[in-house]
């Protein structure tokens, strides 16, 4: 890529970003809150994530202690995609993991995992 093409590409990128921001900003605050609520429902649902079976989560009753408590998640998973991957199939990183492969085994749908990740990452 020569110099002029590069700057064109950069401008195009910035414009796309700005456009994206404009399109999502107005509703994003309310949307964000409802996504978290949806994710929480997936997390706490006994036939869904049922995360409390193994993990302590603030606000959850009678949690198990097989996995670590779900706190400080942004510090533990600065890369949200890595958190999603862990939920999708923890055995990729640790073949002996006791964590249910929620994505690979279709315990949760991709959409459910999307909202779940938002909720868990917010803890």
């Amino acid at each position: 890529m020569n110099k002029s093409n590069k700057s064109l590409a950069a401008m195009a990128g910035m414009l796309t970003l700005l456009a994206g921001q404009l399109l999502t900003t107005p509703a994003s605050a309310a949307e964000g809150a409802s996504v978290i609520e949806e994710g929480k429902a997936v997390a706490f649902g006994r036939s869904k994530g049922n995360c409390l079976a193994c993990h302590m989560i603030e606000g959850g009753e009678s949690p198990g202690n097989i996995g670590p408590p779900l706190i400080a998640m942004k510090a533990r998973y600065p890369d949200k995609a890595k958190l999603r991957a862990q939920i999708w199939d923890a055995t990729i990183i640790n073949p002996d993991s006791a964590m249910v492969p929620f994505g690979r085994n279709r315990v949760l749908s991709e959409a459910e995992i999307d909202v779940l990740v938002e909720y868990i990452w917010s803890l």
């Binding site: 073949p95 002996d96 690979r104 085994n105 279709r106």
Partner: protein
């Protein structure tokens, strides 16, 4: 002579007709009026496929509880004429059936986990 010929022709027609009718009667898909709908045929095929996937998983002792449940749901939807729902359930059943089979097949050899030390 003419009557005889007619009779034998009649007999031939009846014979052929009976054979044809017999063939149709033997194929439940073709005689069921519901199955005139191509969606219904698709749904039945999806259910049959799901049942095959279930059997495959069961053959390696790795059938998941969801598969049978989803097949039943698909069959009920089919009965109600909701072919889209039947196809959806049957496809989900197939998927879980195959995942169960892969789970069983991928563990053909015993693998002692790392936390179990001798």
């Amino acid at each position: 002579m003419r009557i005889n010929k007619l009779c034998s022709m009649l007999a031939l027609v009846v014979f052929l007709g009976g054979g044809w009718g017999g063939a149709i009667a033997a194929d439940p898909v073709a005689t069921d009026p519901k199955m005139a709908d191509p969606k219904a045929v698709e749904a039945q095929r999806a259910i049959d496929e799901a049942e095959n996937a279930r059997k495959k998983a069961a053959s390696v002792d790795s059938e998941w509880t969801g598969v049978g449940k989803l097949i039943k749901k698909a069959q009920l939807a089919m009965k109600d004429g909701d072919y889209d729902q039947a196809i959806k359930n049957a496809k989900a059943a197939s998927e879980q059936g195959m995942l169960g089979y892969e789970q069983g097949a991928s563990q053909k050899e015993l693998r002692i986990p790392s936390y179990f030390k001798y």
